[in-house]
Symmetry: C2
Subunit: 336 residues, 2 copies
DNA sequence: GATGTGTATCGAAACGATTCGATTTTACAA
DNA sequence: TTGTAAAATCGAATCGTTTCGATACACATC
C-alpha cells in the first residue's frame, strides 16, 4: 500500500495525496476528506525511507550517550525520548563507549540517515572547533564538558556550573566544621573533565577557608557504587582523620556510605557525606544522602527545545546553565 | 557524494561500486581495491534511506520499552544497544507510556521505517495472537507477561519464571521462621501481570506451609522507591505484626527499607526484607538487601541473539527461561 | 468573446541506492 | 586466428515519496 494506491482509490493524483498528508499547498475540503478517509480505511503509513530520500533529510533525532547505565541519565533519556516523540520524531540511541570518537560516530549516522539533529549526553569531549563544525546539522551538548576551548558560537549546551556546585557542597561541609574532607570523582586530575571541574570547586572552597589541599584526600573513582565503595575503603585505610566525604555522584556516595557503615562507623555521626546528581535512590538511602541536585529532567527538556529551535532555523547557539541545588537531608552533621 | 560520484571517480559503473560495498557478486581484486580506496578517500557513506527504500527493508532495530527509567532496565538497554550495534545495526528506542497500544505503535514504526526487528521490553501485554501475527517481522518479548493465552509458536520470549522466583523468596522467609510476610507489587490483583505472577508464587509458598493468605498484607505499589516507601508505611501502620516484607522489585524494597528504618525499626532485627531484580544499588544499601536476582544483561544478550536468528531466517520461535537466583545478603534473619 | 486571476489538481522528474538482464572483456583451447 | 565459455562490468528500471511546472476550470473584467 503506497501513495499511488491511495491516489488511485481516492480518485486523485499522487501529488494531491502528498499535499493532504503534509498539509502543504491547497486542497479542497472535500478532496482532503476523501483522501483522509481512504488513508484511514487502509491504514496507510507513508514510507519514511522514501520521504527522507526525496527530502534528503530525515526527521530522526539521535542521542549519543556516554554512561547509559548511570541512573542519573535514566530520567534524562526518558524525557528526551518523550519530548522528541511528542514532536513526531523517532529517536535513535547510540552508546558511546570509552575510547570511541563520538563526533566521528555521529558523522557516520548523519550521513547514513540524514539525521535531523543530535543530542550528545554525558562525558567529556575532546574535540576541536573544526570537528564540531563538520557535523553540519543542529546539535546540543548536555551535561558535557569540552576539553578544548571551543568558540561558544559553534555549539549549544545545557549544563550546570560544576565548579560552583562543588564549591557549594564543600562550603557546606566546611561550614559544619569539617576540615578533613575527601573528594571522589572520575579523572579528578585530568584537566577539563567533569571530575576536574568539581575538584576545582572543592579546592576553591578549601582555599577560601585557609584549609590546605591534600591530594591524599582525592580519589579517582568511576561513577558507580562499587567504585565508590572501593575508593572510600582506600581513604579510610589511610587514617587521615577524615570526617567528611564529598562524592561527585550519588552512585559513588552510595558506595562510599556503604564502606563507611560497614566499617562500623556511622553517618553522619563519624563521617558526613554529600553526593552529587540528586537521584531518587540517594533520598531513600538510610540515612538519606545530602546531595547537589541537578534538574536532569528539565535539562533534557530544554536540550530538546534548543535542538528543535535550531532545526526550525534559529541560527544563534544557546548555552543554558541550570542552577544546582544543595539538598540537605540526613547524611551530614555539625562537628566540634 | 553519492554512489554515482564514487563510480565516476573510480572509473567504474555504479553497480560495480554497489557490489564492492555489499560484497555481492564478483568483482576483480584490482577493481575492488580501487573502489575501496576512493570510498575511503572521500569518506563516502552509503545513504541508508535510499538503500532501505530499494530493499524495502531497513537494518534498524526498534526497542519498545515500558518503564525506561527503571534501573533494572538500564543495564539491559545498554546491552541491547551494544549487541545491536555490534551487528552493525542502528537502534531506535520508543518508550511505551501507560495506556498506549504497544503493538499499534510498533506497527506504525514498522511500516514507516521498514524495520528489521523489534524487541519489546518490560510490562504486561494485553494482545491477541492475531495482533502479534500482524507485526509481520521478527520480534522478541523480554521480561514481559502476556495477559492473553497466546500460541507460543507466534512469538519468541526471554524471561524468568516469576511464580517460581517469588515462591523461592517467600519460602526463604518462611524457612527463617517468618509467618506474617507482606508482599508489594504493581497490580498484584490483576491477572497475568508480573505482579500477579509473583503474588501467585508468594501464595503458593504460604499455602504449602499452612500459612493463611491475608490480603491485608498485600499492597499495590509502583516499581519505584517512593511507592515502596508509602506502601511499607501503610503496612506498618496496620499493626499486623509483620516481621518480613517481600518486594517485587529492589526499587520498592529500597523504599520499604527506608520506611522501616525511619520508623525506628531495624533491618533485619525487626523486619526482614527481600527484594527482586538484583540491581547494584540494593547491594550497596545498608544493610545490603537480599534479593531475587535476574540475569538482566544475559537476558538482553539472548534477546538480541534470538532476534537476529529470526532475521537470518530461523523460523522456529524460541522461549528462553532464565534461572533467577536468591541472593542472601544482610536484610533477613532467622526469628523465634 | 477575449483576457486575466485564482483555485484545484495533475504527473514527470528526482532523491540514491540495488539488481538483473545485457554486454564487454578476458582466458584459453582448438 | 578464431571460437567459446567464464569472468567482469555496465546501466536502466525500480523502490515510494516530494515538488514544481503545467494544466484545467470557474468566474470576473473589460
Amino acid at each position: 500500500m503506497n501513495i499511488k494506491d491511495i491516489a488511485k482509490i481516492s480518485g486523485v493524483g499522487i501529488s494531491t495525496v502528498s499535499r493532504v498528508l503534509n498539509n502543504s499547498g491547497v486542497v479542497s475540503d472535500t478532496t482532503r476528506a476523501r483522501v483522509l478517509s481512504v488513508v484511514k480505511q487502509y491504514n496507510y503509513v507513508p514510507n519514511s525511507n522514501a520521504r527522507n530520500l526525496k527530502k534528503t533529510q530525515s526527521n530522526t533525532i539521535a542521542l549519543m550517550i556516554k554512561g547509559i547505565s548511570n541512573p542519573f541519565f535514566a530520567n534524562m533519556i526518558k524525557e528526551v525520548e518523550r519530548q522528541v516523540h511528542l514532536r513526531g520524531c523517532p529517536l535513535m540511541i547510540q552508546q558511546v563507549e570509552d575510547g570511541v570518537d563520538e563526533i566521528a560516530a555521529a558523522m557516520q549516522l548523519i550521513r547514513e540517515k540524514n539525521l535531523y539533529g543530535v543530542i550528545f549526553m554525558g562525558g567529556t569531549y575532546d574535540h576541536s572547533e573544526e570537528e564540531f563544525k563538520q557535523l553540519g546539522i543542529p546539535f546540543v551538548l548536555t551535561t558535557i564538558t569540552t576539553m578544548k576551548e571551543v568558540d561558544p558560537n559553534v555549539f549549544s549546551s545545557v549544563s550546570i556550573d560544576d565548579v560552583q556546585s562543588a564549591y557549594k557542597a564543600t562550603n557546606y561541609l566546611i561550614s559544619l566544621g569539617h576540615r578533613n574532607i575527601c573528594f571522589m570523582a572520575r579523572y579528578p586530575l585530568m584537566e577539563n573533565t567533569i571530575g576536574n571541574r568539581r575538584l576545582l570547586g572543592y579546592k576553591k572552597a578549601l582555599e577560601e577557608h585557609g584549609i590546605e589541599y591534600d591530594s591524599a584526600l582525592v580519589e579517582d573513582c568511576e561513577y558507580a557504587p562499587s567504585f565508590g565503595f572501593a575508593a572510600a575503603k582506600r581513604l579510610l585505610s589511610k587514617n587521615l582523620g577524615v570526617t567528611a566525604m564529598f562524592a561527585a555522584s550519588d552512585a559513588i556516595a552510595i558506595g562510599a556510605a556503604k564502606a563507611v557503615l560497614s566499617s562500623g562507623l556511622s553517618i553522619p555521626g563519624d563521617i558526613s557525606i554529600v553526593g552529587f546528581d540528586g537521584i531518587e535512590m540517594a533520598e531513600y538511602y538510610h540515612p538519606s544522602l545530602d546531595t547537589i541536585s541537578q534538574p536532569g529532567v528539565e535539562m533534557a527538556h530544554v536540550s530538546v527545545e534548543i535542538l528543535f529551535d535550531l532545526i526550525a532555523g534559529e541560527t544563534a547557539n544557546r548555552h543554558v546553565v541550570f542552577e544546582s541545588m544543595l539538598v540537605k537531608r540526613g547524611s551530614s552533621r555539625k562537628i566540634n
